[in-house]
């Protein structure tokens, strides 16, 4: 498909290009010889031999310092090359060229080549157990670079995340800290969905009480009476977070009884979470990484947690 919005542009490119080449050829041909216009006897010796006979402003003479013929040959080669190029490669407007070359295709070829070059490098990690990978400094070096280039944008260079992006370096896992769970998170991605719960919980006071109850789970409540009232309303939350608020790793419902707060642990932040819900997305990396790369990344991420 042509990238031009109108057929005019095809000709706008094609005609000047071909005219340019034709013009250069014409110039090269006609400039080869020159008919002397005016005998110039006033200069002597070699200069006279070189004179073309052109004189301007009384004494400004055009001499002839002939271009070597091999140089003319280079011009001819350039012209032939340019015509050949325009036949083979896309250059004339929307004409696609005989070779079928596209920049997308060239990029694809390079990607394939790079993948082929990298394949033997990753082959030795294929099927290696996670602890063995973690013990291999070379493997961890590769994993670290993969992490910095691909994961650090959200999870931070140190993997400790920030608001809305989970900390990977602690022992707390939303979807479980087993190699299988981490590999699944990277491969298929995760969508952490907390719906807005204000209507289900009840009035504004009810929400405030639930906030106090949630805080009380980690011993941080400022209003024990409210927390007690909120406990009754927590039933609508228990479906995902469990009756004790310890969460459910099967669906990524966070543990509310620990000190980790993905979206903030202040009264205001928790109230906002209940009223408006939260939606966190970890994209799938299946098509971006090979299985070896995902194993390496999993080993690296799990290693960060173990260091705590």
């Amino acid at each position: 498909m042509s990238d031009f919005s109108s057929g005019l542009w095809h000709w706008y490119i094609t005609i000047p290009t071909l005219l340019g080449i034709a013009g250069c050829s014409w110039l090269l041909w006609t400039m080869g010889k020159h008919r002397a216009t005016d005998p110039d006897q006033s200069i002597a010796g070699t200069e006279a031999v070189k004179s073309t006979g052109h004189v301007w402003d009384e004494d400004l003479r055009e001499l002839n310092n002939p271009l070597p013929r091999w140089w003319v040959g280079l011009f001819v080669i350039s012209i032939v090359f340019s015509l050949g190029y325009l036949v083979v490669f896309p250059g004339l407007g929307s004409f696609r060229g005989n070779a079928g070359w596209t920049s997308t295709g060239a990029h694809q070829t390079e990607v394939t080549e790079a993948a082929q070059q990298l394949a033997p490098l990753y082959a030795r990690f294929e099927g290696t157990e996670i602890p063995a990978l973690q013990a291999d400094p070379k493997a961890m070096g590769i994993a670290e670079r993969l992490f910095l280039n691909n994961c650090a944008q959200c999870h931070g260079s140190d993997g400790r995340g920030s608001k809305g992006f989970p900390n990977l370096a602690d022992a707390d896992w939303l979807y479980g800290g087993t190699p299988e769970a981490v590999i699944a998170s990277i491969t298929q991605g995760r969508g952490g969905m907390m719906p807005p719960m204000a209507a289900a919980v009840g009035s504004t006071d009810d929400v405030a009480n639930v906030v106090q109850y949630v805080l009380s789970l980690s011993g941080k409540t400022t209003d024990p009476a409210g927390a007690k009232l909120g406990a009754a309303k927590f039933a609508v939350c228990a479906g995902c977070h469990g009756a004790d608020g310890h969460g459910n790793q099967a669906i990524g419902a966070p543990n509310l009884a620990d000190r980790t707060w993905l979206y903030g642990g202040s009264v205001e932040a928790i109230r906002h979470t209940i009223e408006h819900g939260r939606h966190g997305v970890m994209p799938a990396h299946e098509s971006k990484f090979s299985s070896s790369q995902i194993r390496l990344l999993s080993a690296y991420v799990l290693g960060m947690g173990q260091n705590q």
């Binding site: 080869g32 008919r35 005998p39 670079r145 650090a152 400790r160 920030s162």
Partner: protein, 492 residues
């Protein structure tokens, strides 16, 4: 050459077939200088890549790994300024030499000249000197011509291939190349560049020769812009030489009304660019002084003083006739002239103008840049540091009432030994490094680590607060590297 003026209606060809030049072999003072330069430059060129240093090639431009090894120095792309400095110095040296003595580079050291000289020497071994070569070229193709030409090209190809091989040896380990070639395991591109430079050598030194200097080389043209009245150039002393003409060796030129030039045309025959130096300074002249050598020989044989063609300046040659040999020789002057000359005429003019503003300024700039360059290379810190603040995360509150920012710390150790670096930070009261403070970086490699910096939560939030990260090497002789960054504290 057509010896007639263009008449009205004549067709003038503006393209011409290059006329092959058959330079006659020459010996003498300046030819010896040129051969010394040929030997010196080729010893360096062919020998340098074989030298070893610290168990590696002493000079290697590893383009793939982007590391340039120059004896004890390893240059990374970040050190490109040193290469720039080197090129600036080369340019200034060219300016200086050209201002002092014209196209010295062209005549004695340029690869085009050096390889043409080598190829001409080989050519003479197989095809003889100028006249023999001209006869051979004009003669019909027979077995003898085929053998001579064939062997010449075989020898040329040998030199060309060795040159291409050596050139590639500056970019890939040269000691591994012969084995790779023998086992046919050499990579396609390596082979391509070897053959490319071989063909370029063969074509440039065998065929293109003076055409490169006349039509392609930009330096050839702009060097004449650095000439002044005191620049030494190869010059024919017209006042002494004219009127030219042949004469018996015993004749007195004064009686024949002749100058010193015997019109033997040898200066034209030895010229590698095919010009006649007696027409004055021409842009084609590469300043090789072959005509000086051959003319001195002729003067010796004629028993005339040397220096009819010599290195001299415009000022010296057009100045007052201060010596007995500067003008056409007449009467008793010829007797004086026949005595061995102890000094070239006009020498005092040349020496007294050697130190002039132009040369002094070039020298001053050259020496200053050279000193700076050496000093900079000596104190160059093999550690390079880059600190990039994580862009997506503003800040995070961590346990025990600290605010934390994350940075990516890039440490590049261009030393050929591993080093351990200590990270510290300053700029805000109570600021501290929370991640590992000791970082080990392997020899000649780089490492990127996450750097966590914390300040007490009680710190008054401001705009981006400047901080300074200091990296101290375990090598006490090296100065710590300071890198600036900012710390952000959210205001709510």
């Amino acid at each position: 050459m057509i010896e007639s003026t263009a008449q009205k209606g004549d067709v003038i060809w503006l393209y011409q077939a290059a006329q092959k030049i058959y330079p006659r072999s020459v010996s003498g003072r300046f030819a010896r200088w040129r051969w010394s330069m040929v030997v010196l430059t080729q010893l360096v060129f062919y020998g340098l890549p074989w030298l070893a240093w610290n168990d590696r090639q002493a000079v290697l431009f590893d383009l793939g790994a982007r590391k340039f090894y120059l004896f004890g120095v390893v240059l990374w792309p970040q050190d490109f300024i040193y290469l720039t400095g080197l090129l600036v110095m080369c340019a200034l040296a060219l300016f200086l030499f050209t201002a002092v003595a014209g196209r010295l580079w062209c005549g004695y050291a340029c690869p085009q000249t050096v390889y043409t000289e080598i190829f001409l020497w080989i050519e003479r071994r197989f095809e003889g000197d100028r006249h023999a070569r001209m006869k051979l070229d004009q003669g019909p193709w027979n077995l003898q011509k085929l053998v001579r030409k064939g062997s010449k090209h075989l020898a040329w190809s040998g030199v060309a291939l060795l040159t291409g091989f050596t050139f590639v040896g500056y970019f890939e380990p040269i000691r591994e190349l012969p084995m790779e070639i023998l086992t046919l395991s050499v990579s396609g591109w390596t082979l391509f560049w070897m053959l490319f430079y071989s063909v370029a050598t063969w074509g440039n030194a065998g065929f293109m020769r003076e055409q490169v200097c006349k039509y392609m080389c930009p330096y050839a043209r702009f060097q004449s812009a650095m000439f002044d009245r005191d620049t030494l150039t190869v010059t024919y002393d017209q006042r002494r030489g004219e009127p030219r003409g042949s004469r018996p060796r015993t004749a007195d030129p004064a009686q024949l009304n002749l100058g010193s030039c015997v019109d033997c045309n040898l200066c034209v025959q030895v010229c590698p660019t095919g010009i006649d130096i007696r027409q004055g300074l021409q842009y084609e002249c590469i300043g090789c002084a072959a005509c000086v050598d051959v003319c001195d020989d002729v003067m010796d044989r004629m028993n005339y003083p040397r220096g009819l063609i010599r290195y001299t300046s415009e000022r010296a040659i057009s100045g007052p006739l201060n010596g007995p040999v500067s003008g056409p020789l007449t009467g008793p002057a010829i007797e004086t002239a026949r005595r061995p000359s102890t000094s070239t005429p006009g020498n005092s003019e040349i020496w007294s103008h050697l130190l002039r503003p132009r040369t002094l300024i070039y020298t001053t700039i050259l020496l200053s840049i050279f000193s700076l360059w050496v000093a900079a290379l000596t104190v160059r810190n093999p550690l390079r540091v880059d600190v990039i603040r994580d862009r997506t995360a503003l800040a995070r509150f961590v346990e025990d009432d600290w605010v934390e920012n994350v940075y990516r710390l890039q440490l590049m150790n261009s030393d050929e030994h591993p080093h351990r670096y200590r990270v510290s930070v300053a700029g805000i009261p109570g600021i501290r490094v929370a991640s590992a403070a000791q970082i080990l970086v392997d020899a000649a490699s780089n490492r990127s680590v996450a750097l966590r910096i914390q300040v007490p939560e009680a710190t008054q939030p401001g705009h981006s607060m400047p901080i300074e990260i200091q990296i101290t090497s375990d090598d006490p002789s090296r100065q710590p590297v300071l890198e600036k960054s900012v710390f952000l504290i959210p205001s709510d």
